[in-house]
Symmetry: C2
């Protein structure tokens, strides 16, 4: 049976939409059908600059994309504060929703989005691309390997990048009315997700923000960190920032194994990505070296992770459209947990670094 | 002028003394002259197993080593609780002191040791070997390079190892009367030192222990962590444990550079050691990869780091003995700051994870 091609509408011409447009073109089960911007001119330029199919429709509004019956799914790379409006509206118009991160300003707000998706039978997925890299699946295998990794004990994640002056003045991620969570919402989202991923999405019991967050003059977080702890003794920390050199680490340590990688969100190279795995590492007899050494694992991928994300999302949409299956709940569930922890870190900062119990 | 050979006495037959005996043999300006153990038999076996010079003196007590006029310096690989007694006595007997870590049960106790060393004109150094690896100097150059590393913003350090059942029952590091600080005193010492090293020994303003420390049934720490913050906004975290696979990370992130290494205390191999340095790392135009990539720097060393430590210590002793210079204060100062932060983490844990202001 021929693959159904899922037809995407793109809402807005954000920088990140360039990468996702290419990803949609690369995914064999997806195509770009429409783009909408508040400026028709901008949408036209975007379509041309990003090699849209000649028959792609170009609209001067977001609504027009949602009203187009030829659009199956939308990609929403909008500022966080606009998510609730446009994601809910998209769902109501029966469009499947691929949403930029962070998914909302709060988990409560996100619940409205999930509710709209569920009641309209549409698939939800957030745009956390690294989840779809085959390396991620390979690392999951290692973390789940009781014999070689054992029981997870601690995770550390760090995502920082050095924003330039223009970013720190003009980017939506430093504006309280657009991406109100700043570095926590942007880079912290990935750190939190990586920690959740490592613990197989078990929510921690408590979250405490670390001292020393940095804010801009209008109160948006430019740098912060947190410590998370689980009932069973697992612990995690993360640090996220717009003010440091590009760094992208995950370290997960188990009773028997250690996982390291330094490019978890955007792999150093598109076609292959590595991680380091060490199992039952020890010192030599005189404690002057290690035996064995950790080993490097490299995973090739023909499609970049963002195209694999689009392909997976489109596959789930096809399951609904062509096979009558229900939307896959795994993705909104993961998004919600990530948002819940983001909320907890924010709350801890606001309450002067108090311990925040994580609810549901 | 011929090099003066510093004559070492070793106090006790701890496991680590094997490695340091070899280091003394390897250092051209040092030799083992004597060993003392509470058991003459044990000392005899140790001397023979570790290829001591045939004329090395073997004593059935620690005191005898201190009373030997042919001993210039002593290496004290004793349980922490015994440091104050033996280090002070050694200093009073005019022996230069190379002391295992942690240096004392508290900074207050350590001050007594420093005082004894100062008033007797003897050199003090703690046995933190990685400080003396040429890699450490090379990494210091990178961290101090304003153009390529910029201003330090955050540090994360992790040292864990999976102690076996025998260690967790019998090792001195799980005994409240011997090494009362457990994993904090043993592996946490190195984490704290690496953080201090990265910030060029500037003490943080506050220290807070992280939730989730693990204790054994007699209250000794088996796993813990802390968050440190500085007046100028620098932040650091560390995690240390006896309960996880061997992991040994330092990550230091500056405004323009990132340093990573995964074997900071004991290099993977004896003859060469590496670190990763990235400077002004960024994404490519479509954010599908990094340009430039971090680069790996490998430093060869003919002598292992513990022999370089012995050589440096012996050089300082020679400066005092042969040239009439004063003891080098850098080393006890660094030891004291490390101990001070160790005390602060301990205090924070004991006070229910309160913020501890770091004094002097």
């Amino acid at each position: 049976m021929a693959e159904t091609i899922i037809r995407f509408g793109i809402i807005g011409c954000a920088e990140i939409a360039r990468k996702v447009s290419r990803a949609i073109a690369l995914a064999s089960n997806a195509t770009v059908t429409a783009i909408g911007s508040r400026s028709l001119d901008k949408a036209t330029r975007f379509a041309s600059a990003n090699n849209f199919p000649p028959d792609a429709k170009i609209y001067g509004s977001y609504e027009a994309v949602l009203d187009d019956p030829d659009v199956d799914a939308v990609y929403l790379p909008l500022p966080t504060s606009l998510h609730i409006h446009w994601a809910v509206l998209a769902a109501q118009k029966k469009k499947h929703v691929l949403l930029g991160k962070p998914v909302a300003l709060s988990a409560v707000e996100f619940d409205t989005i999930i509710e709209a998706c569920e009641s309209n039978g549409v698939q939800f997925m957030d745009g956390t691309m690294w989840m779809h890299h085959p390396r991620t699946a390979k690392m999951r295998e290692f973390l789940s390997d009781k014999q070689h990794f054992g029981q997870l004990k601690s995770v550390h994640s760090c995502f920082t990048f050095g924003a330039d002056r223009d970013f720190l003045v003009n980017d939506i991620r430093v504006k309280p009315d657009l991406d109100a969570h700043g570095a926590l919402g942007d880079s912290g989202w990935y750190c939190i997700r990586s920690i959740l991923w490592a613990v197989d999405y078990e929510l921690p019991k408590t979250v405490i923000a670390l001292r020393g967050p940095v804010f801009n003059e209008v109160g948006v977080i430019l740098s912060c960190g947190a410590s998370l702890s689980w009932e069973d003794g697992k612990v995690a920390t993360f640090h996220c920032s717009f003010l440091s050199n590009l760094t992208m680490d995950v370290t997960a340590v188990g009773t028997k194994g250690t996982l390291h990688l330094h490019d978890f969100i955007i792999p150093f190279e598109e076609k292959e990505a590595s991680f380091s795995a060490g199992s039952e590492l020890a010192f030599n007899e005189l404690v002057t070296g290690w035996v064995p050494l950790p080993s490097k694992h490299t995973i090739r991928t023909d499609l970049p992770q963002e195209a694999l994300m689009v392909r997976e999302f489109s596959r789930l949409v096809e399951n609904i459209k062509a096979k009558g299956l229900n939307p896959e709940k795994k993705w909104p569930t993961i998004s919600r947990k990530t948002q819940l922890l983001l909320d907890a870190v924010k709350a801890s900062i606001e309450r002067g670094f108090e311990t925040v119990e994580v609810g549901n």
